[in-house]
Amino acid sequence: MSRQWRALDALARDPAFVTRAEAEFPMLARAMAAQTDRRGMMRLMAAGLALAGLTGCDAGEQGGILMPPVHPAPGTVGAGSDLFATAHLAQGYAEGVRLRHAAGRPIKVEGNPLHPASLGGTDAIAQAEILGFYDPDRDIGLRRGRVAQAWQDLLTAMAARRTRAAEDRGAGLRLLTGRVTSPTLARQIADLRTTYPEMRWHQWEPVTRDSVRAGALLAYGQPVQVRPHLAEADVIVAFDSDLLSSAPGHLRFAREFAARRNPTRTDRMSRVYAVEPAPTQVGLAADHRLIAGARDLARLVPMLAASVLRDEAPADAPPWLGAMAADLKAARGRAFVHAGPDLPPESLALVHAMNEALGGRGTCWTLGAPAEADSAALGESMRALLDDMQAGRVHTLLVLDANPAFTAPGFADALRRVEFSMTMAVGPTETAGATHWLVPQRHAFEDWSDARAFDGTATILQPQARPLFDAISPHTLLSLLAGPAPAGSQDAVRATWAPQWGDAAAARWHDALATGLVAGTASPPIDVRLRDDAARAAPAVPDQPLTLSLRPDPYVWDGRWANNAWLQELPRPTTKLVWDNPLLISPARARDLGVRNGDRVEVRRGDAHRVLPVWVVPGQAPEMVIATLGYGRQDVGAVGSGVGWNVYPLAGDGPVSLRKADGQDELASTEHHDPIFSDAGEYVRHAGLDAFEADPKVLAREPALEHLYRMHPPGPAAWGMSVDLNACIGCNACVVACMAENNIPVVGKQQVMHQREMHWLRIDRYYEGDPEDPEILLQPMLCQHCEQAPCEIVCPVEATMHDSEGLNVMVYNRCIGTRFCSNNCPYKVRRFNYYGYTKEEHRPALARNPDVTVRARGVMEKCTFCLQRIAAARIVADIENRPVGAEEVVTACQAACPTQVFSFGNMAQGGTVVERKQSPLSYAMLAEQNTHPRLTYEGVIRNRNKDVGA
């Protein structure tokens, strides 16, 4: 029978117990043996409490503290929240970001103005990354064959692999990663290769950009990267270009592009031609959007090259080609041609040749070394790996940051022949389910690492919080392959940089963290001569009548962001589709097939076939059928699993057939109206540059209206916004930024189909004219903050009202949900909580912005002009006893926008917004409603070439 005791105190004096405790916990025994009086006890308790709090603050690494930026960008307000620099990785390339922390946790991604690939802007994916960071599905745990393991087991297993790899000098050891720009990862891999000389490293991205690399090889003999400087280009020709959407550095390009698009702010507006099979973001902002399928492009690029390089006038060229070529040649030195990654390498080589001939090198564009640690043709790299796996030459495979089981057909089969496979992934993936081991990877926002931007600029990624879930760093995992001692990720990163910095290491490390980039790491322009035969490259013209193009989804990308609900529910730039990836076809092909939106068709290529619904895209080449990658994931988490259809199996080169199939699928799009509208110009006013030059007020047609009610008296501030439609490329970064900043819930596909999406800010898309080749117009639409607001007078309980600073404010607590305000809003910017959407979200409460009220069921909500940011600035101004400055407040949409579409400020203090509102292009939406909106638009001016025609 065990000894009975009456109190812990009595037990503590029991010599047998003390002996046992001493053996087990020597320090505890000492503590218990010490005499404790009441004061001592209090001291211990206080210390215990303080220490318990401290664990919440440590950075998860020894000596780790998080550092705020020491060089704030001009005009930045640091009211009540802190910004910490790091980077978002897009296809391996760094985009500098700064995370806004509130209440001690990261809550919002902002651009890093100092970073060359951001310039302060962000894209939609970077904005949504904060939701990915808090994704509860990331909690996967260390697993072997789906069974949870202890970390000790991993050490044991890795020790065995080290032995095995040492036996054959690494010949059977393979490392598969995504595109790597991280100097530290590259260093570790190089170290591994010295340990295991025959080890091979493969890289794989499903969106390979191999064609771009091959084109550069053809043209220059080395994989150089073109770095456009679009602010210097007078004429831009873009062939199916991803320059503004996903090319590495696209945020910077978009900023520079937009700088020349508003004739009231630039001396010379650029002229942009987009020749493309389906609307791209360049096409949306272009002066001329010319539709050309893959076959047309394969003919058009050589024709333009002939015209530019040899002054030939090809006989069968379309009429506009000559005018375009003439325009390019007239702008010699200030002309730039770009082609997207879907064009064949020969076409890309011709584009290089044209650019050289046009003489823009050094002004409009430069050449730089690739930012990747090891520039490789990813397709070949994967094929080599698959061959080796099939042949049984691989005994150990380590997959880092890649999901080949989903994105590389054949990988899952080949994997069965590998003796030991391990996946490291941030969340569940198909590959993780197929390999023997699954190692949870730390999210980039909770780990130390580094990465390079498109121009080589390195950023040190610093953790923004302690790891939310039990996970390790890829740097640690790689260190386990090299030796028994696991390296901390911070040590690994320091080990890369410290030798380069020498004595200045401490200061430079600090600066790198504070500014978000390592100064002086941008790779300089390189001088390499164009190969002579580049101009003679001849792309093969495909002979198939139908081209199936597999393109990454703009937001879910290759599938890696499929579990991000913000991105799933983000309307695609032109189709406005959410939560799905139907086959995109042209109106002409839809007519031929006899299908409408949602009807199913069967696509067949070789043995692979898929039955998919279609979506008709006005302005798409009839020859083209576009399938979107990234959907149909089965193992990704609660949000993205089973959403859409996997089209990776359709990859290949064979001929494609298409036929109507039975049945229909319901698709959710946030644009519900008839696709073609005859006079969208009513809403998105637009005119040609010549008309603007003849009469700068060409877009002004404001009616002179009396107002019946008196205007609100001016208050201490007057908030206003101006939206420059010339700069909008429809990237949707603003929409996600708004969701992140304002705790806007996602509602799911069913509710979107029911027209209950909650976006406070939406980008309206209008088609005008011919359905086959329409004018596409974009317009960010948010609360206009009317000075005579129709919503305010109809609310019976005054839940929406005007404040003294001109804001139309919404008092959630007072709202009883009559929805009359929404009915009476001419702009339809109000959103209603039909259900308790916020409550149902797959998202911890921790992830929300603590400064913004979370709305309950039955309450109306809408854009507040980021009232919480205004309030923060107001507090600072009040303390300093001064009015809030003109540009002291930056709204979330404004901060995110890569092209500076939005300007916002206190109009009582002047500033940019006042200037922009005085622009001759400025107009108020639905001015005849006499609502006096505080938000105005600058209409679209298109710099058309009259020789090109409509």
């Binding site: 644009e671 519900h672 109206h673 008839d674 509208f677 969208a680 009513e682 809403y683 029911h754 027209q755 209950r756 999406e757 939406r762 309206d764 898309r765 209008y766 317009q779 639409m781 129709p790 305010e792 007078i793 109809v794 609310c795 019976p796 309980v797 005054e798 007072r814 709202c815 009883i816 949900g817 009559t818 929805r819 009359f820 929404s822 009915n823 009476n824 001419p826 702009y827 339809k828 959103r831 209603f832 909580n833 039909y834 259900y835 308790g836 309950a856 069921r857 039955g858 309450v859 109306m860 639905l926 005849e928 409603q929």
Partner: protein, 447 residues
């Protein structure tokens, strides 16, 4: 029984005693008349459905309905306007024709007022159900509160709140006050103690002294003089719920009279329907004659012409005003997705009632029943047109959309229909279905 004819006198039998005995016998019958339960059971069940759908609504929220982003108002508002219009017709017959001393009104005013009562009850539920947070409905009331907040007096919804409150209160008063002498009669004729106490309490001590009658007539006259304009103002305000907004399809100065016309049309049709049903069910053919049918049909025809005029003016003002959004909206009404609903309203409310120009058809009970049902459905279509069709084409094409009522929308509508009929069926088992004291006056005069 002879077939009713438009030439019928206002009462076929002039015996006071026979009338009183016949009418007062209905509540006293131990066994209800034939098929009563057959009628009560389904409508009682529907009332249960209403209760169930309201409970689920409060549990799940208005998301269970079909309302969406552009069409934020749906069945709740359609049904509200529809019911309040039906209710108004009853008040109109009872009050206005009292003031004009129309003798045919005496036989049917009780039915009309009872209809008003339950119509207003059905209507009154919806504005509360419609709210996103119905438990705060009392915030509409300008009561002194710790928040120091008043409601927004410029909002038509606030006017509407007062209008409904006034209307429901005064309808109940008017109905109850009109019942007093009959309740006294019932008390006097009751043989069991139970009924004597019941009716005695309700009769509030009305003994039929000449002083009481003098006061009674004066008060009733004053009430009627208040009710007749009130019903117009209530319905004008219902019209302003829409016209007060700047929304295309709503922003029209003709809405207040337009809504009154519609109210008369649907009110007359419902009264007519009830008269035809109850005269048969309770064997009241001797006092509800062909003349009543004729008069009500003529009223229905007249109000149908008014409604037709309003439809024409609706189109006229849109094109005369020339605002683009209004024209787009109106064109969608005529030719868009919901065009059948609009044309259904035109057919049922304006075109088919024109048959009533033919004298013989006005007493053809089958046809008139069908026409009345048509009008009732047509008026619902009209409200669907106003609420849904107007909202689905707002100013900006980017916000255009569609709307479909959900299962719960339909169940709630059916539920209120159940409550309405169920309520009337219960009422005629408790109160005299015809105003006995007023009929006595009529019969006296005719003798």
């Amino acid at each position: 029984m002879t077939r009713p004819s438009p030439g019928d006198p206002v009462a076929l039998s002039t015996s006071n005693e026979a009338m009183t005995a016949h009418v007062s016998a209905v509540p006293f019958r131990a066994q209800p008349f034939a098929h009563y339960w057959l009628a009560v059971a389904p409508f009682g069940a529907l009332t249960g459905v209403l209760l169930g759908s309201i409970l689920y609504l409060f549990y799940a929220g208005v998301g269970i309905w079909g309302i969406d982003w552009p069409v934020a108002w749906g069945f709740a508002l359609i049904n509200y306007v529809w019911w309040i219009a039906i209710a108004s017709g009853g008040t109109f017959i009872s009050a206005l024709f009292y003031l004009t001393r129309s003798e045919w009104r005496n036989a049917i005013n009780r039915i009309a007022e009872t209809m008003t009562l339950f119509g207003a009850a059905c209507a009154g539920i919806y504005p509360i159900l419609h709210l996103g947070r119905p438990w705060f409905f009392y915030w509409l009331f300008p009561y002194p509160n710790t928040m120091g907040l008043w409601p927004q007096f410029r909002s038509p919804l606030l006017w509407d709140f007062f209008a409904i409150l006034t209307y429901v209160t005064s309808s109940v008063l008017f109905w109850y006050f009109g019942l007093l002498p009959d309740l006294a009669t019932m008390r006097d004729r009751a043989t069991s103690r139970r009924w004597q106490v019941f009716y005695g309490a309700l009769a509030l001590g009305f003994r039929g002294s000449s002083t009481q009658w003098r006061h009674y007539h004066v008060t009733y006259g004053v009430l009627a003089a208040i009710m007749a304009p009130l019903v117009c103002s209530v319905h004008s305000i219902v019209g302003l719920d829409f016209a007060g907004a700047a929304t295309p399809g709503w922003h029209s100065t003709q809405f207040p009279p337009f809504f009154i016309f519609g109210a008369f049309l649907s009110g007359f049709a419902t009264v007519l329907l009830l008269v035809m049903a109850l005269r048969r069910l309770l064997n009241l053919q001797a006092w509800m004659t062909g003349r009543h049918l004729d008069v009500l049909c003529k009223l229905m025809l007249t109000s149908s012409l008014f409604v037709g005029y309003a439809y024409v003016m609706d189109g006229f003002t849109v094109f005369y005003g020339g605002e683009k959004a209004d024209i787009v909206n109106y064109t969608a009404r005529l030719f868009g997705y919901y065009a059948p609903v609009y044309w259904g309203a035109v057919l049922f409310n304006v075109m088919l009632p024109q048959l009533l120009w033919v004298r013989a058809l006005r007493v053809n009970q089958l046809l008139v029943t069908l026409l009345c049902c048509g009008v009732i459905v047509g008026m619902w279509f009209e409200r669907y047109t106003i609420v849904v069709i107007s909202l689905h084409r707002p100013h900006l094409p980017s916000a255009w959309g569609l709307y479909h009522g959900s299962l719960w929308d339909w169940l709630t509508l059916m539920g209120t229909a159940g409550l309405f009929v169920f309520g009337i069926l219960l009422a005629i088992r408790i109160i005299p279905a015809m105003s006995m004291f007023e009929m006595r006056e009529t019969l006296e005069q005719r003798r």
